[in-house]
Symmetry: C3
Subunit: 266 residues, 3 copies
């Protein structure tokens, strides 16, 4: 088959995503292409990294994940290809992928420099079409990333800092809202595993001017219109309002601090 | 092949829809997946039902229609699978499917309980990924719905009331606007068959502060900027403005009453 | 395979696009369908033409490009099918395709009249479903356009005027903004080839109240927040702001005049 996923900030109004698919299907007519998102805020590299990290494990091993959020397009920035966790990744060297492999190093990492695989001529403003699409097609046909260019040491690639939750006292975690989904649910950078050993009924979460007590099992675990906290589908703490938009109801934006107070169990 | 359609309120900014597709393709690499809509208003079960009812007959028999508009996710609400009109349906037990089979009973109806087919562990907030996607994949491979769980009598499933047009006098039908499309066209719950025997030129339609006389054959049947009524592509009465947005021009919202006065022919 | 692209103004909230795909896959289960855009402004035939012209060359020869921006649906307007530049095109006879073949004539042009291929009955409001989708499916299976209806001379088809850049003096080109993309970049109708022979550092571009000197190689060729001009991915002059939205920053809308002053090289 050859499965390719796409994450971009191109939106769906313009022809950009469709054109990438045309280039891919011209090289691998059997490629399966899945849109992860084309609604990344323009040039928000971190948002793309969070989304890709949450999504890729649900795809079959060997999938080619292609992320084009690329404010440096046409400059001297490199393009990276990597093997990591059984998957293949392709992205600009702007730190996007450093959000994927925060815990382990990639199994292989190369700079994409094999111009024979690019569209000719390569534009200065649309590498998604001229470089990423044809390379993704070749990778989906089984080409090894070693054929794309020279190996790169991990510390030669751009590293982007991602905000991390911190233990502020024995019983207090300090993190932030890192994403707001379509429902207005607030995803945080506080991993569920850091709360797992606490008594869920005694956990206190502060965000904006609001204070939530307890971790709910589901969105409908409180009355309609009430705020709640739960371990979301990405495995981290999420703040929501049952049947309403938490971002609007609680007046909280991306980046807002979140403080969790734990009472250890026994 | 195995054709799967998706209707959700997930939007396209987040990774949710892409992740469902990853799970499906991991189980059935040959599945064809068609997005019906991911733009259902959050938690608007009726909107999803109207849309699915309008769309499914245009797909090949045997298609698996998967609807995840699911405000009760993670609660005790059941998940239903059904065979109806030669198609397979999968949805939460919240009345969404009761909008599909208003006229006839399903040929088979089961509660989805076969945990061996679910992702492990099942989250409390994303059954689209953990239950609906793998089940849809198995159904698209030809699994019978009987393998998913115990049969259910129709009156054991949640029934949701959908507003129906009513005959108020011999010559007067009273309905409402049930959907507004991208063009601002107003779909109503007044079936075209109830108007078919009337003289189309003598039908009078009242909506908001406006009064339209006659049923047009097409949008361009009146001058640009003028309101008109026609039998829309869903087979029911629709109100539009030629080359403009009727919802905005007529200042009419979903739920607005629509009254039709008929003059019987001969 | 059989590759079909779709350009419409249907949006993605309603079932219209999904239903077209259902009809296509019912006739050609192996068709590959690529969405070019469903976000064309309602009834903006020119916008669809620009987009399709930019996109189609990146698809394999033989692809069937299906454009349904069709304010005259249900009226007496014809539907056209054409062979042009190795591709197949299908669109209403409203001038949309005249934007594609501004330079050369199509190799073949027919009126689509073979009702045996249409859905039965044909509605007056959704020819995308009832005519375009089944015809596209048959074309993707290899049907010749000659089987669709009688040949048409090019001057019998509707011709739509597209604004062209004009040479106003020996060294001055006058054009306009013809499209604004998701990033707020301003596409113009001034072809890059008309600037190619000038000294790029001496070119002066005037748009709105702004004046830009020089053609940049890429978006990041100027400091963040600064306006720039470059030859965009469609091959024509584009105005952008590095890491910001030029349409908003420069307060420029579609249709705004753009004047380019060239200094000829040697």
């Amino acid at each position: 088959m050859g499965l390719i996923t796409l994450v971009t900030d191109f939106g769906l109004r313009d022809e950009y995503v469709g054109v990438m698919k045309g280039v891919i299907l011209g090289r691998n007519p059997d490629a399966r292409i899945v849109d992860l998102s084309h609604g990344i805020d323009p040039q928000d590299v971190r948002q793309a990294a969070y989304l890709l990290k949450a999504a890729y494990p649900y795809f079959p091993a060997g999938s080619v994940h292609t992320a084009v959020v690329d404010p440096g397009v046409g400059s001297q920035r490199a393009i990276l290809a990597a093997r990591y966790d059984g998957h293949v990744f392709l992205a600009p060297d702007n730190g996007l992928l450093s959000g994927i492999w925060e815990e382990n190093s990639p199994d292989a990492l190369v700079r994409v420099e094999n111009k024979a695989l690019f569209l000719e001529p390569v534009s200065h403003s649309f590498h998604g079409r001229d470089i990423f699409a044809p390379i993704a097609a070749h990778l989906s046909l089984g080409m090894d990333i070693g054929a794309l260019g020279p190996a790169l040491a991990l510390d030669q690639a751009v590293h982007l800092a991602f905000p991390r939750a911190e233990l502020q006292a024995d019983d207090q975690l300090s993190g932030q809202v890192i994403a707001i989904d379509r429902f207005g649910n607030l995803a945080t950078n506080i991993s569920g595993t850091r709360i797992a050993h606490a008594n869920p009924d005694a956990v206190v979460i502060r965000v904006g001017h609001h204070c939530i007590t307890g971790i709910s099992a589901s969105y409908s675990g409180v009355r309609e219109g009430r705020a709640l906290a739960l371990i979301g589908s990405r495995g981290s703490l999420e703040i929501a309002v049952n049947r309403a938009n938490a971002a609007r109801r609680l007046n909280v934006a991306k980046g807002a601090p979140v403080v969790v107070t734990l009472k250890q169990t026994s």
